[in-house]
Amino acid sequence: MSAIDFGRPVRAVRLFGDAVSHRLDVRTVAVCLALAALALVVALVTLASGDFQVALADVAGALLGQAEGRIRMVVLEWRLPRTALAVLLGAALGLAGAIFQSLTRNPLGSPDIIGFDAGAYTGALVIITLVGGGYFAVAGGALLGGLLTAALVYVLAYRRGVQGFRLIIVGIGVSAMLTSLNTWMLLRAKLEVAMAAAIWGAGSLNGMTLERLGYAGLILAVLVPLALAMSRPMAQLELGDDAARAMGVNAERSRLALLVVGVALTATVTATAGPIGFVALAAPQLARRLTGSAGVAMLPAAAMGALLLVSADYLAQRAFAPTQLPVGIVTVSLGGVYFAWLLLHEARRQ
């Protein structure tokens, strides 16, 4: 119980005296838990449904390692990698979006701003249309392209520090050039190759395996805690550089660290599944509207991102069965509809 009126229910959690202490915003925690629970439900339903129906009880059993034979193969080897990746990558995207929107102080801030998505697509297109290669070659190309682009944008925007607006402008410029390059590469390639490249470019979770899940999971296991550890300096930076530095935040270094983590999160998603659009943009804003909190918060954004992507993947697989849509197409369409509905809903409430 807090003696201060924060305007909303708040609980102070204290252990070992004050050595471990935290101020919990009840509504934020409730929203995070609800979103996570919903994401879990959708994941389970996805695991259960499809050409081969599996009862939910059997799905649970398989996850606990108690199933055998056909059920085990279908749930654990075919479906689990894809669905688990949807949850993990969605959370990563939500986190990355929160970081970029907080840093740029703009609700339209997203990793695309730094040119990453365009660069990743360029790298992948080079591999797909010019060099030729399999999954890991494309992933590597995308990673390289994206990281080089982000680095280039940072360097070009750096002039005694990276001021948010300059970063955005340079990011837009570099993105535009790379997008043009991509359009050109798509035009030059043979039709089938171009279509395959376009499917990658839309972002797709088709053909995910346990191996790919493992790689992504390992990387995210490092990145996500790093990001969460930086959530407080990120919140301080939102007060303006002067105020943040006056309170002991090293503004330039914190910003760079946050940028690197944000880019790394995006890079992991892009390398694994191609550039999945809109989740990084929409998740933080949608989460914010639900929690009613100040600024951009990481955990709610991550939870919302997971829910968005896992739901999108379910639709991508089932909505037009037997055709499987690239999940990126669904996120973009779905995200847009959510946004529009939310705008209308807010308006009516006013």
């Binding site: 609700p107 402008i169 043009s180 039709l191 973009v332 847009g336 529009a340």
Partner: protein, 354 residues
Amino acid sequence: MSAVSATSRDLARQDAKRPGVANSNAARLFWLLVGVAVLLAVLLASIAIGSKDIPIGTVIDALFAYDDSDDHAIVQALRLPRTALGVTVGMALGMAGALIQALTRNPLADPGILGVNAGAAFFVVLAVGLFGITSVGGYVWFAFLGAIVTTLVVYGIGSAGRGGATPVRLTLAGVATAAVLTGISSAISLLDPETFDRMRHWRAGSLVTPGFEALFAVLPFVAVGLAIALLMARPLNAVALGDDLASALGADILRTRIGVVVATTLLAGAATAAAGPIGFVGLMVPHVSRWIVGPDQRWIFAYTAVLAPTLLLASDIVGRVVMRPGELQVGIVTAFVGAPVLILLARRRKVSGL
């Protein structure tokens, strides 16, 4: 108040340093005229240069002493329409960008933010994918219709509720609608190879057009759009100060918003319908104008109207020359010509927002 002090105040005002690199009216007018001269030069170059080398003498003959030779046909039937289209589309895109940046007070805005590009693309995909329309002339009206319908939807969503279409709500509504339409467009085009093929060509944005048909189709809309835009320049100066101050200064916020949205739709819709989606011009040129002349919308509009077609035509010329005997579409080149300039400017000046 003595006469002496009044005069000194007037003198002080004339000499006053104004924002922007060109910081007096005289300087601004001078550079504007320089810009016009450059535009004319680029215009002439666009008629004279192409993927096929045609000597200047022949070009002049083609304009004034036409005979039916191949070279003359190229000049009259290909380069002239293309140049005229370039000027028109460039001006339209630049002005649309200036309008939308002024209205939304968001320097990240480009005409696409009202969903124009996504809407045009969506309707073109429908035309090609569902109705099997294959002629460019057929697309034009679909693209235009798509742009208009989408803008109406975006404005509708953005203006619902109290407060109306504030910059933030318009922007978000535009992003949302564009996203949905892009998603559906991608889905349709990925399902059918021929649709995909046509769309990937359309998306590159090109000024290549047989004859003046497309130009004459969109010219009236561009003209009306430009006229409305000119009327919006002064109200937009007030709007830039924020809604409250703008009303206090007598600007009718609602009428300005509607005027800008209508003008932007006409201009950006016409441009996209005629030439496909050409990005970057509408985003970049108003920025550059603002850095040169400061935040007065009237000067920004004037400079944009001159600089934007220059950028577009210059890009088109580069596209014709750089890959002879083939061509590079203008939509692909504009970013490569414009972005380095934008980045250079962002590095040189203390970058200001809107």
